[in-house]
Point group: C2
Chain length 301, copies 2
């Protein structure tokens, strides 16, 4: 079944100990859509400027991503640049030029409104709410947020969060949102805010999926080289949502959610193997399934 | 079967965000022995001073730990004091008084020399080698080390390491020993130094067990409150070794090693629930087995 993804499409300048790129395709919706596209059809709602490279359009199209909802506005595409620390665990933002993204008002093409699976990428919570209002009745609504919105627009965030089935955040966001340091306590407070499922991403250490009836820990894949972690969290989200949409399982089924979380970890790990979307652009479903089996092999006892 | 543990017995001064103790029973061999004692008999080789509290002796005896090898020397017991950061991820050492531990020369009672399982706690590598020379032919030799020995006595460490079956270290020690940051690369180099099995402990994130034919990831248990992480890594070692000695399985059997690593994580997690050895002193085998089943429940997919 179709997955609708709303978020940012951007150009990124990235510097890691392994090298540097000045202007690579990026943005949360890009990573989510590419990662999800291995499992089934994806519809994208985002905005780009008139500088957007036709080759990047072709890459997205070639991956089964519907671009009717990709608005082209006069001006420049969202640009972000950052540099990673030598151990890749920290990054410093050098530039954030919102450009056309500053006035982004997501508008859903009519045929997108019936999408059964919706992922609200990290944008202003009131815009996330506006997207949800344009939808019919999706089977699964999931979304992401960030420290900025938790701090600056907490009320709006709590308002829209109430209607989500799944929230995906990283550990520092979960701590900030809940005011609790230990993840189990943080999860308890966040689940009381509305979502029936909470996924807390822990970078190289994987993720924890919390439900009111239990939790599931997926480790991170041990890469030999982490080339560039940009987009790994979004690729996790794309793998998770893509798998659920693709297999059409009951999105609240605990077994399906666990499998989806492993696919999330698999996609997040591949994402780190090259700069930007480089690895996702060449990845195959066979490679994904082989790594999924590897997860089973190194976690079973 | 019997497990022989060599290492330090100490008094610790510990300060965490949850409180403070001035003089609590501690030391690597104490935690290892207590954690292992839930699975079968333990023989302890260590040294204490004439200030050692008879209540602490009674605690060790009550847990099935053979104290014939616990030397009592004139002077004071090894004393360590440290304070943890607010998130418990860092600690600063305030005091290290080696006292009687400075002249520790481990001497094995004759009936210890036939112990089939040996764990060499974190002491000077040449002392670890001397212990090994006093043994008959143990089925399994495992040991720990630390940054100090990796830096100051690297040659001695590599000499004795060659004869070990299992090395247990934490991630920063593995990086220092191998000169590699990514754990898979670090493991490859360390396995080439001799041990057929390497366990890299990752604090709250669990551990990875590496062998030449594969690896196994155990997550850390998600505690609601981490009271005091002192001794958690040693408790992991004790749970791992204790389980292998207790079930008498082929210590190179991959399935037994995986189960042992889970028991290691279980014991490490309980250790953090109270100050010092407080939780290990009241723990029961039923509680351990219940948490082991919980690990299965939150890792299966």
């Amino acid at each position: 079944m179709s997955l609708l993804v709303v978020g940012s499409v951007a150009y990124d300048g990235i510097e890691t100990p392994h090298g540097k790129v000045d202007r690579a395709l990026g943005g949360s919706a890009t990573y989510i859509s590419l990662a999800a596209s291995f499992f089934g059809p994806v519809q994208l709602v985002a905005v780009v400027g008139d500088d957007f490279d036709p080759d990047d359009l072709r890459l997205l199209e070639s991956r089964n991503i519907d671009l009717e909802g990709l608005e082209r506005a006069p001006g420049k595409t969202f640009y972000w640049a950052g540099v990673y620390s030598s151990d890749l665990n920290d990054r410093t933002t050098l530039t954030t030029d919102l450009n056309v993204f500053a006035d982004f008002k997501p508008k859903l093409p009519e045929r997108y409104q019936a999408a059964p699976y919706l992922f609200l990428g990290n944008i202003q919570p009131s815009l996330q709410a506006q997207v949800l209002q344009q939808m019919n009745t999706p089977r699964l609504v999931a979304g992401d947020t960030m420290n900025l919105w938790i701090r600056e627009t907490r009320g709006q965030l709590l308002d829209t969060l109430r209607d989500w089935d799944v929230l995906l955040v990283n550990d520092s966001e979960a701590r900030m949102l809940s005011g609790e340091y230990q993840l189990r306590r943080a999860a308890e407070k966040i689940l009381a805010m509305g979502p029936a499922t909470l996924i807390i991403k822990r970078g190289e250490y994987g993720a924890v999926l919390f439900r009111r009836d239990g939790y599931f820990i997926t480790p991170g894949f041990l890469l030999e080289t982490v080339f560039d972690p940009t987009g790994a969290g979004d690729s996790f989200a794309g793998g998770f949502m893509g798998y659920l949409a693709g297999c059409g399982a009951d999105p609240a089924d605990p077994a399906a959610q666990r499998q989806a979380a492993i696919y999330g970890s698999v996609l997040g790990s591949f994402c780190c193997e090259q700069f930007g979307v480089g690895r996702l652009a060449t990845l195959t479903r066979d490679e994904i399934d082989a790594r999924y089996r590897e997860f089973r092999a190194f976690t079973q006892f």
